[in-house]
């Protein structure tokens, strides 16, 4: 069984836990009042955008055992979809945002129908190939009109997104509310699906697919749905980036962009929904601290090696086992 992220499994404890999460979520909204520095607020927003992408990879890794190497295709693809809807279809920003999410999820479901049949290593390669394919297509000169080619796609829109104009969305203090609510929303969604019956079927399938099929479960449809959900979460991350920066560049589809979220997921750990977010926060802060000196890549590489070798469950797994040892609790690992 998966444990709730709140360490509370029974009775009144459970409601206490839910209340605590609600209070934390509401407190999060007030962060711009506490953190006045635009720089740090921007940093946190970057962490949220990266964290949601990492959550998408982490969800799939934890529930299905499939690791997506080409997450950049799903986040960056959504940014492009949003940009194209705004710039070429001339849709209002809200319509474009909804279109972006719906279309991305639909496309993810279609792709999922094909790729979840594969085993983990071919799956990783196929998603990587998808992202690279998208990147190459976007860069083709013949489609410059639509995608902006190497220069990227600059977006301009009039109208409001939840009452925020384009200029306001670009300001970290205003954008915070949108980003924070989106983060809470996708975390809740991922947590809920993970704890649902579908989540249990998914993890059982990960452990032994043959036995699940033999027991009469359909192991294919849940995995397609999980892939669709991962695509949706990734699209949320891409959409947030599009709304905030109003710019889509081929760099978003680079292998390295996907690697950032993959590394965040690995460092944070995927066994609970807060893991990838923590990883993304650590990664973004690290990027700020070490990015200028150029040691980020080295640390990231070492981080991946050390985490995979010594802490397969990431920082959150490490914290959890520490807490468990402290409180003397025991639980079945999953």
């Amino acid at each position: 069984m998966t444990r709730s992220p709140l360490n509370s499994n029974t009775g009144s404890n459970k409601f206490l836990g839910y209340g605590l999460v609600l209070i934390l979520a509401l407190c999060g909204l007030a962060i711009p009042n506490v953190v006045k520095s635009t720089f740090y607020l921007g940093l946190f927003i970057n962490a949220i955008v990266l964290g949601i992408a990492a959550l998408s990879i982490g969800f799939l890794a934890h529930q299905c055992g499939l690791i997506m190497f080409g997450a950049a295709g799903f986040t960056g693809g959504a940014t492009y979809l949003f940009g194209i809807a705004v710039m070429h279809f001339n849709w209002s920003v809200t319509t474009a945002a909804i279109f972006c999410l719906v279309a991305s999820t639909f496309i993810s479901l279609l792709i999922g129908m094909v790729v979840v049949r594969a085993r983990p290593l071919p799956f990783a390669m196929m998603t990587l190939a998808l992202a690279q394919m998208l990147r190459s297509v976007v860069k083709i000169t013949a489609y410059r009109e639509v995608t902006g080619g190497d220069d990227g796609l600059t977006m301009n829109w009039t109208g409001n997104f939840f009452g925020l104009t384009q200029a306001e969305l670009a300001r970290p203090a205003n954008f915070w509310t949108v980003a924070w609510l989106a983060l809470c929303g996708v975390m809740l969604l991922a947590w809920w699906v993970g704890h649902s019956r579908t989540g249990e079927i998914l993890r059982a399938t990960k452990a032994n697919e043959e036995r699940m099929r033999f027991s009469g479960f359909n192991t294919y449809v849940p995995r397609v749905l999980a892939f669709g959900l991962a695509g949706f979460i990734a699209a949320v991350s891409g959409l947030l980036l599009g709304l905030h920066t109003a710019f889509a560049s081929p760099e978003l589809l680079d292998f390295t962009t996907g690697a950032n979220s993959l590394v965040s997921m690995l460092i944070g750990g995927a066994s609970v929904v807060t893991g990838p977010i923590l990883g993304a926060l650590l990664y973004t802060v690290g990027q700020d601290q070490f990015g200028a000196s150029g040691h980020l890549e080295l640390l990231t590489g070492l981080g991946v090696v050390v985490v995979v070798l010594a802490f397969p469950k990431g920082a959150i797994g490490f914290l959890q086992s520490g807490i468990d040892r402290f409180t003397g609790r025991k639980h079945a690992s999953n």
């Binding site: 290593l121 998808l130 080295l298 590489g301």
Partner: protein, 290 residues
């Protein structure tokens, strides 16, 4: 545009030049996969390191020294790779090892960036090959011809070793059925040390050869890694012959596609990868299932 009109000997030679680089890299990748069951995501980074080392050595001495020395330096790195990474991690899941090689790729990228900077560098062609030769009535850069010769020459040597020597036979045996080969008394550890060194040495060779042909820049590793993965998977994992054929096909698709339709050139390799992974996992050669 008419396909036949635009298709000339020059384009054929260009396709072969690209393929020859890919064959060297892909056969190394396929060898390591065959013996160790590891998808080496650091292969592109090793190739990049080879290119930069080639640049450094060529600047100090000359290109020929680089061509002779760098593969051995990279093979030395292969010894470290085998003893420090592959051997201790034999029992771990494939995905874990793949992720660790990915981490190593990041570390190597950093080493290259801090040592040589991020701006593209160019390696001067060796004077003997700087000119053009007459190729069926048309001038063609001599260096590319040299590249084709070295690339396919290496692969022929490799294929001959695999086909006609005892150790080559052992490599093929382990690639096909590791358990059975071990039971028949093949020392897989010793074999794998040699094969990993060969694989990394090949990536160094490809790096040095790529220097004067392409520019030397930090993104060259990631770019070619994807092509290599496609070639190895499409050719059949662990199958050297398949990898050679697939890289020739890949080179042709790239060069011909860029004349006929850029969209086709971009999409075809990926679609091929998809098709192979989903419906023909053993690849077009006689490879193993991923």
């Amino acid at each position: 545009m008419d396909l036949l009109q635009s298709f000339s000997v020059i384009q054929l030679a260009n396709a072969l030049a690209l393929s020859s680089l890919l064959t060297i890299l892909a056969s190394g990748l396929a060898l390591i996969f065959g013996l160790r069951d590891v998808m080496n995501f650091a292969h592109g980074a090793l190739y990049m390191l080879g290119a930069y080392l080639g640049f450094a050595v060529a600047a100090k001495f000359n290109f020929w020294v680089a061509l002779a020395v760098v593969p051995f330096l990279l093979a030395g790195l292969g010894v470290v790779f085998e003893y420090a990474v592959l051997r201790p991690l034999q029992k771990r899941a494939h995905m874990d090892v793949a992720l660790i090689t990915f981490g190593i790729a990041l570390i190597l990228g950093h080493v290259v960036n801090t040592t040589w900077g991020t701006s593209p560098l160019s390696v001067a062609m060796p004077p003997a090959l700087a000119g053009a030769v007459d190729l069926f009535g048309q001038p063609y850069p001599a260096y590319r011809l040299f590249l084709i010769l070295v690339g396919f020459g290496t692969c022929v040597l490799l294929a001959a070793w695999l086909k006609w020597t005892k150790s080559g036979m052992h490599v093929r045996a382990v690639s096909q059925l590791p358990m059975v080969a071990r039971m028949m008394g093949v020392n897989t550890d010793r074999l794998s040390l040699f094969v990993v060194c060969l694989g990394t040495g090949f990536s160094g060779l490809a790096g040095v050869l790529a220097g004067p042909y392409l520019s030397v820049d930090p993104s060259m590793g990631a770019n070619i890694l994807i092509s290599c993965l496609i070639v190895v998977v499409v050719g059949g994992l662990g199958s050297i012959g398949g990898a050679i054929v697939a890289s020739v096909v890949y080179g042709f698709i790239q060069v011909i596609g860029s004349i006929v339709s850029p969209l086709m050139a971009v999409m075809t390799p990926y679609l091929l990868l998809f098709f192979v992974l989903l419906w023909r996992p053993q690849g077009f050669g006689r490879g193993r299932v991923a």
